[in-house]
């Protein structure tokens, strides 16, 4: 099931972005954290000390859990906006 709510909402057509070299579709303007959640990508990195999986938690730029790399910049996925062709690397490779 797509978690996007469609009632009363019209989104612009999807664009493709690349997450760990895999394509996902998302709508321009969406937050990257939400787009990843909708694509079923929940683990975004591993914790530094025990290597436990972590994902977006506060969605408002406070907890820093959704830190990942977009086009070479370290950004919070919840504060980043989806655009065509974004290249995203998560730290989830070990999961």
């Amino acid at each position: 099931m797509n978690p996007r709510i469609h009632r009363h909402i019209q989104r612009p057509p999807t664009v493709t972005l690349w997450v760990d070299d895999q394509p996902i579709d998302a709508h321009p303007g969406e937050s990257l954290a939400a787009a990843l959640l909708a694509a079923g990508i929940r683990c975004l990195r591993h914790s530094p000390r025990h290597g436990e999986p972590r994902g977006a938690f506060c969605f408002m730029g406070a907890c820093q859990e959704c830190l990942l790399t977009v086009d070479g910049r370290r950004v919070l996925a919840c504060q980043e906006t989806v655009r065509e062709g974004l290249r995203v690397s998560t730290g989830a490779a070990r999961d």
Partner: protein, 473 residues
Amino acid sequence: MTEPDLLILGAGPAGICAALAAREAGLETVVVDANPAPGGQVYRAAPASFRIHDHNPDRRNGERLRTALAGSGAVVASGHTVWSVGRDLRVDAVGPDGPVHWRPRALVVAAGTSERVVPFPGWTLPGVMGLAAATILLKSQAMLPGRRTVVAGCGPLLAAVAHGILKAGGEVAAVVDLASRRDWAVRLPALAARPGDLARGLGWRLRTTLARVPWRYRHGVRRAMREGDALTVEIGPVDGDGAPLDGPTTTLRADALVVGHGLTPATEVLRLLGARHEYRREAGGWVPVLDADQRTSVAGLYAAGDGCGVMGAAAAQQAGWLAGFTAARDLGRLAPDRYRLWTAPHRHRLARMRRAGRAMAGLLALRPGQVAAIPADTVVCRCEEITRTEIEAALACGVRDVNTLKSWTRCGMGPCQGRMCGETVAALVATRAGSRERAGIWTARVPLRPVDLAALTGEYEYADIGIPEAAPL
């Protein structure tokens, strides 16, 4: 305008209204906010690229405030992360076009709150999110947190989120509420001042009943476990202080758990500037000491909204108006008689809304029994992965305040800068120190948020680096 009369930190309901007041008094005003559009968390805007045909009261209130702000003549710097505020009120931020700074004559801090989540085993798993996070997903992203969601914690957001999920066609496994039926009932009279909100809240509650969602009063999450993409969530009965009681536990299956245990005022800028604070549990934690006109103890520094004690968006707007007018008055730009006349209606409404706001805030206050029951191996500090056991070991060695604990264990030293664990850690230290006042609060430091060094420096050549002359021997 790098030297405005007034700078306002935060474009939530309090910050927007402070700007409207300041503009009415003719002040050159700048509003700085981290989000892409004004509105704060409560009136968070959907992406501009979305077309939305659902106009609920929150969306209407948000649009009304955004329109008023846009027409006010205030300069609005959205998408800016403030990383430093100096004693001379110099504000440094990083925005989409790089570093910026302002030197205002007065500063209103309307920084809002952060959500408090009291740790339990499994709270760091992907799929476990804040309750406020769920409202952001639902309201601004039009997205469900999962296919089947457990909604847990306390306060009015429980009903708002459960209703939002059901309305969108999602499934709610259960609502797990620390409060009892009676805790809610005794607060209803105070909400009579906000009949619209009261009716809406009751409507949300009714909707969960009609959808046959189990509402488990006086229950808390014991632990969450991950099974592939699914979560199993164990819940059990708690007492009025949030401490687990013996009794049957229930295991729920879901793919998302959204959980929140109240809101804590974001006071770091006010503390950095040396404003006097006091601990008030029922207001959400440490709050600045304000006079009746929203002045802090520091000249030229004002505060408004939930960031100085949780009272809700309606009260925040009135406090914002008051702060804006008071700043204008102190800058000599609003005559005393006019100040009295213009502030009177806002003072009157603030007093009325305070009662309703405080009744709800009571449900959101930290429950010490819940903190005391955190199991030993549970991670408390998410960033540095410091467990309850490690904190207790430091306390056993004689640590009696949160800053010593931070130096000792690294607890609160990670990238969130103690925002997620601060309240829990302080409550744990307070059990040994004797009080929250003695346990203290993290020292506020610059940078206020993690910032990219490259964004601060921008592009430069070697020749651009100034080399100071050698000191005379």
